[in-house]
């Protein structure tokens, strides 16, 4: 079964609005990462948050992690058409054996 489950599955917003995506997972983790994938391309790493961190920022991205609820959120502020992509969370469990588990992704569409 998938460790990470993103919510919503699809999201459509206007340029300039904020986009929020959520990820839930089932077991204890070392870290959680977010990736972006443009259609038909490989994934690009966005941000990593460790289990002892609660919030992290990178440019227009803000990631939160709530280990008590086993959930994370990715906020993209002031979205642009170029942010249109699928976004995936990936978790590494506490055994740290490189078995990152990816969710099924959120498809974000930003309308110009």
């Amino acid at each position: 079964s998938q460790q990470g489950e993103e919510d919503p599955q699809a999201l459509s917003i206007q340029e300039g609005e904020n986009a929020t995506m959520n990820c839930s997972y089932k077991t204890s983790i070392n870290n959680l990462q977010w990736y972006r994938q443009n259609s038909g391309r490989g994934l690009v790493h966005l941000i990593l948050i460790r289990s002892n961190e609660r919030e992290k920022h990178s440019g227009r991205l803000r990631v939160t992690l709530d280990t008590s609820k086993k959930s994370s959120s990715l906020l993209i502020t002031a979205s642009r058409a170029a942010d249109t992509a699928s976004y995936f969370c990936a978790t590494e469990n506490t055994s740290g054996t490189y078995k990152y588990i990816f969710g099924t992704g959120t498809r974000l569409k930003v309308l110009a």
Partner: protein, 113 residues
């Protein structure tokens, strides 16, 4: 910038054929991975390698094998392709135990007829 290069973007093969998917990274990364991506299922790990000639099974290794003879190259082999192996295959690498982010190639879309 790290570059992970997958040899073929698109392949069409017939059932029963032997298929080789090649992946090369140019940043001396220790770890390399093969995933497959299918709609609604996300990415699933097939095999990974943490050193030359070392490999470990991921979640769905059946029907696949891998080879890592040199640090920079990680090959995925489908011994006898089947239609249920039609998928997008993604290779990734990561530097070492401390740096966890994965660097992905552009993907190889395989169709098995």
């Amino acid at each position: 910038d790290v570059k992970v290069t997958q040899s073929s973007r698109y392949l069409v093969k017939r059932t029963g054929e032997k298929v080789f998917l090649e992946c090369v990274q140019d940043m001396d990364h220790e770890n390399m991975f093969w995933y497959r991506q299918d709609p609604g299922l996300g990415l699933r790990l097939i095999y990974f390698s943490y050193d030359v000639k070392m490999k470990e099974k991921g979640d769905i290794p059946e029907g696949y094998s891998v080879s890592r003879e040199k640090k920079e190259r990680f090959s995925l082999i489908l011994e006898s392709a089947s239609t249920n192996q039609t998928s997008m295959y993604l290779c990734a690498s990561s530097p070492d135990m401390r740096r966890k982010e994965l660097f992905f190639g552009e993907g190889s879309r395989l169709t098995v007829l």
